[in-house]
């Protein structure tokens, strides 16, 4: 997939282990995440944190689609358990009381898909200590 705008997350429910890569055609999504182009050697790549990354993770249909799908699953759970289960799934720990309150407030205002979007973008999800 190179055209992520037309990517339908519902059509693909498996993780990619092997994927086809055009060596000379940078993949816009992977490029935003600072994946080196396929036509050069990169024995070691630094960690980059960029605006492109932030924009891609925050606005792309790929992440939004995943957030929507996850929200459907979360909303099947009893309301009181949603924040805990969501945080356990992405951060691998229980939320603090204050985190739980903030996530519930956000969910009440904008729905769980928006909560999922925030969690998928959080540093604690993206960086493994």
């Amino acid at each position: 997939v190179v055209d992520y705008a037309s990517f339908d997350p519902k059509s693909v429910t498996r993780r990619g282990v092997y994927r086809f890569l055009f060596r000379t055609l940078p993949d816009p999504w992977m490029a935003a995440l600072d994946c080196p182009a396929g036509d050069q050697f990169a024995p070691l790549r630094g960690n980059a944190v960029t605006v492109q990354q932030a924009l891609a993770l925050w606005n792309s249909q790929l992440v939004r689609g995943a957030a929507r799908e996850w929200a459907v699953a979360l909303e099947r759970l009893p309301e009181a358990e949603r924040a805990s289960i969501a945080v356990r799934s992405v951060w691998g720990r229980e939320p603090t009381a204050s985190e739980r309150a903030k996530l519930n407030t956000h969910a009440a205002r904008h729905g769980w898909a928006e909560v999922a979007r925030v969690l998928f973008n959080s540093s604690e999800f993206l960086f493994i200590e």
């Binding site: 940078p26 944190v49 960029t50 492109q52 540093s123």
Partner: protein
């Protein structure tokens, strides 16, 4: 700077920080006093014909229709065809301005400003194939994988604005040039230095998704900021975490600033008309030139405006017919180019802005088929104008045929060295260790062309 520190910075940490410049330069500092702070480069994709536009050679008219014979000991060959007969420029060329610069009648608007341009009359490529030649003109190497000039500039000098990208590319809407986005890549530099491509006035991933209301966006970013700040506070050593907080803040500022910067309806109708906006021939290139001016005014460092798609047509790669294929390219770009120069000047932007007109190679003095011309890496013309540039200069000469560069040759390395010099950067010092070599935009070559500097 110590090698060890340098390596640590370039390979691990620094990269991250969208807001940091090159590790050996403090953000905004240079090797020497800069004359130029920002650049607009107009790139004529396909190989604009030097001998039809600027490099007047009476011999072509005199020997028109005869066999091309540059003398004993020369091997004559062309990139894609058998060499044809000598071909005179099909459109008149005249001496213009006080400097007496030869210019084609196809460029009536650009012509008015030639006394303020410095022409590089004998530029030379190492290849006459589009892909490698475009890489060479953009990245300094004929192979893919190297950072382009805009990326180097972004890396070395950092940003002037805190709400727009540093390096923006405005491709021809008919298609990307040869090498596609490879010409605007960051290579081994961190990705934030790659060209941000704005197509149809849009920055990728910039727009709020239509299914997310504005307050969900605002509250979401606020919540994310809180969560990420408290997470970053747990490990103050890890600069990536605070950089992420800043990256989202910058993204949000960009989301607000970019639509204004890209909104040409804020310009007067007089300005729009000057750029040829509204006229079918010039509308597109005019819009992109005006967009380029608005972007550099707002602090974008480097804007590249492309004329011509990749592929066999709609570009400067006029194999079939100079008569049919060159005029529409000139008509599309001439008025907007002249307007951009005049507009930059009247607004005082030329005091620290460099305007560059370039292409990847030239064309042959002899015909391909009846009236086309094949690629010629041997000699081509480019010009620069604005900050630090001496007007009315023509540096270098090709041979009597406009076949090969012969005197005061400007290699692509010299061209890049000169541009970096104007920015206050020493092309020999601006290097990055990658894959076992200290890589430079100018590889191991390059001399600053002092003759065109003021």
């Amino acid at each position: 700077m110590q090698r060890r520190t340098f390596l640590r910075h370039s390979l691990a940490g620094c990269a991250g920080l969208g807001l940091l410049a090159a590790p050996h330069l403090l953000a905004g500092t240079t090797h020497h006093a800069p004359r130029v702070k920002r650049i607009i480069q107009l790139f004529m994709n396909g190989g604009a014909s030097q001998c039809d536009l600027f490099d007047y050679k009476p011999l072509l008219t005199k020997r028109h229709g005869q066999a091309f014979n540059p003398g004993e000991g020369f091997r004559v060959e062309a990139a894609t065809s058998a060499p044809g007969k000598v071909l005179a420029p099909p459109f008149p060329m005249r001496q213009r301005g006080a400097s007496g610069r030869w210019v084609s009648d196809l460029l009536p608007h650009t012509t008015r400003h030639v006394d303020e341009f410095a022409f590089l009359m004998a530029m030379k490529s190492r290849t006459n194939v589009h892909g490698p030649a475009s890489y060479l003109m953009n990245t300094g190497f004929v192979l893919p994988g190297f950072p382009c000039m805009g990326a180097w500039v972004s890396y070395a000098l950092g940003r002037l604005a805190d709400n727009l990208p540093t390096f923006v590319v405005l491709p021809d809407p008919r298609g990307l040039p040869y090498n596609a986005t490879g010409n605007f890549g960051a290579g081994f530099l961190p990705v934030q230095h790659q060209g941000t491509i704005i197509e149809q006035n849009r920055i990728p991933f910039l727009e709020r998704p239509s299914d997310s209301p504005p307050d969900a966006e605002r509250h979401g970013l606020a919540l994310l900021g809180e969560l990420d700040r408290s997470f970053a506070a747990r490990d103050a050593e890890d600069s990536r975490l605070s950089a992420r907080v800043e990256a989202y803040a910058l993204a949000a500022r960009m989301q607000l600033a970019a639509p204004e910067a890209l909104d040409l309806s804020r310009e007067t109708s007089r300005t729009q008309a000057m750029y040829g906006i509204g006229d079918k021939a010039t509308d597109d290139f005019g819009r992109r030139c005006l967009t380029a001016r608005r972007l550099i005014e707002r602090g974008v460092r480097f804007v590249q405006v492309w004329s011509g798609a990749g592929g066999p047509s709609n570009n400067w790669d006029n194999h079939n017919s100079m008569v049919k294929e060159l005029p529409p390219m000139c008509a599309a770009t001439d008025r907007p180019t002249a307007a951009l120069f005049a507009d930059l000047k009247q607004r005082g932007l030329l005091d620290d802005t460099l305007l560059i007109w370039s292409t990847e190679f030239g064309r042959m003095p002899f015909a391909q088929g009846g009236e086309g011309r094949d690629h010629n890496g041997g000699t081509f013309v480019g010009w620069m104008a604005g900050a630090g540039i001496k007007g009315g200069v023509a540096h270098g000469e090709s041979d009597e045929w406009s076949w090969k560069a012969s005197k005061d040759v400007c290699t692509t390395y010299d061209f890049h060295a000169t541009v970096l010099h104007l920015l206050g950067l020493d092309h020999e010092k601006l290097s990055v260790r990658h894959d076992g070599a200290d890589r430079r935009l100018t590889d191991v070559h390059g001399h600053v062309i002092e003759a065109i500097l003021r």
